[in-house]
């Protein structure tokens, strides 16, 4: 649609699924992670245009990920 890719990191599966359901149609590529390490790994691999980070994430928290990026 608008050629944007998105990464979403959220440890709550229900919230993750619902959010992806609602936002998925606005992005061409969507990837998701349930912990900080995986999120960072996906970021380096896919370089998404938009990232949504939950603050309370296992392994590395959202704020630290933002700092690293």
């Amino acid at each position: 649609m608008n050629n944007l890719s998105m990464l979403y990191a959220e440890d709550d599966v229900d919230v993750l699924q619902d959010t992806l359901f609602l936002l998925g149609e606005y992005f061409t590529s969507v990837s998701s992670a349930q912990d900080g390490e995986k999120a960072l790994e996906l970021y380096y691999k896919k370089r998404p245009d938009i990232i949504f980070l939950d603050i309370n994430l296992p392994t590395i928290n959202g704020l630290d990920i933002a700092r690293k990026i």
Partner: protein, 608 residues
Amino acid sequence: MKTLLILISIVYLHASQNTTNTTTYFEQKDITQDIDIYSVNFTLLNPNKSNFGFTTSIFWIKVELINDTKLQTKKVLHFPCTQLDYIDIYESVQNRLIIRRETGDLRVYNNDGFLTDPSYFVQLLPKERKTFFIKVQTQGSMYLKLNVLNYDDYVNSGVIKSQILMFYIGAIFIMLIYNFMLYLYIRDRSYLFYVLFHLDYMFFSLAFNGFAFTYFWSSLPYINNFAMPFFISMGSILAVAFTIDFLNVKGNTPKIYKLLRSLILVNIVATILIFILSYRETILIVCLISLISLTVILISSLHSHIYSKNQNAKFFALAWGFLLIGLFIVSLKSLGLLPTNLFTSYAAFIGAFIELVLLSSALAYRYKLQSEEIVKKDLTLLRQSRFASMGEMITNIAHQWRQPLHRIGLSLSVIDSVLQDDSPDRSRIDNKLQSSQDNLQYMSDTIDDFNSYFKVDKFQENFNLYKILKKAKNLLESRLKGIVIKMPKDKIIEVYGYQNEYLQVVLVILNNAIDNFIIKNIERREISLSISSDQDSVYLDISDSGGGIYKNNIDKVFDPYYTTKFRDEGTGIGLYMAKMLIEQSISGELSVRNDVDGASFRIKTDKR
């Protein structure tokens, strides 16, 4: 009735002048010259005006004893005053004076009979007549009272007099022990001053009544010169110190505090003067300063009662008032301004006794007020801690509700989005409805947990420790994110006590551990809970990886209002309340030590 008899006997002992004997006196004003006692004029001694106050004169008493009966009799020359310095008893034999007895309180104890008063026994044959000249010299008050008693009367009334004195001293002693025990128990400094004052007063009474001389220092009569003034001025110092402490004068009325402090100094100077000046001078100085001290004490206590609304000061003023009145009467008597009689002689002792009883009650009353205040303070603390934990719980609930609310919001958005499709996916809608239902149930459960936590336990009961820990974990769920909680393996052990109070203690310890992780920014956050037990007790150990408590603070963690957190983060009553709850309402023990990784709290409770 018995009391009445005793009183009558005492009055009798004082008033008993054998009327068949005549007692006359002569005042020798010039004491440097010898006089011919047979050529001077003796005046009849009025028993109601026998106090001549302070004087430098020598007083001579002439007494003639006649035995009218046909039997041999025994008479007693008895001075009802123990304070006369020198008493020389001469018998007149063929117009010559023969010394029979040298006594008085500045001589080695030398009296007949069992009373502490100077006494001399005289044997009279049938129809015999004896004349005695008694020379009296004293630096104190010249109380020239001489009783001539039949031996039987002396014994009968003397026994009662001794008994009353012993009873009096015994009562003072018992009260002294009572107050001393209270001091040991309460450790209140006012009690110590009071006990010392009491002890001093007991010695004063012993010295005044001649007991101390008769039984403690009978061969060291010069002590009598210092004993009375010393005990009076020491009593004065202790009474003032006691007043300062008891009425908290320093904090309440600084001006009166300064005045009382200078009175102590004046009394100390007077105490030193006792060993420098003569008895006559020191007893006057000491009595005067004591009366001033007592008056100031009385005024301070009235002031404290009126201005500081100190209820205790009322007792205090009343008590000292009695002693003051008693001492005034005795002082006026000593100066010869009041007649010497039973009442004026013992007024100070009666006043002092009332004072002792009233002050002991005042101290006990004060202790009661203090205990009530402590209970009140503890209740306030309990309430504060409940409020504090209520605040924490509300924060927890808010945290815990945020996530389900978010989920429900998302579910509604999903349902809305699905319903906009031409052919809505029914199963997705059902799925979201169910999920919302679950989330609402979870929120409702949170409220239930919250409610049961604030419900006050009425009974002690056996409860499953694991369940309590599980509940604590649930209540703190939102705060425990990122923290590894190691639950105990033992899931069946039970503890006896108040469930919610135990839970409150666990929450306080867990919350402290979490706060510590945050404040110290600890990376590896781990709390391990372990249960162990022996025959009678169950131990719950809560250990964290927060680095432990600083060595200097470890003794203070259970003190009220002690906190290492920032002012707005901690009230400092959590652990104090936790300890109180465990030790007072569950009769367990709460202790802390430092482990390798961090602090380790141990709750010990009864197994039942």
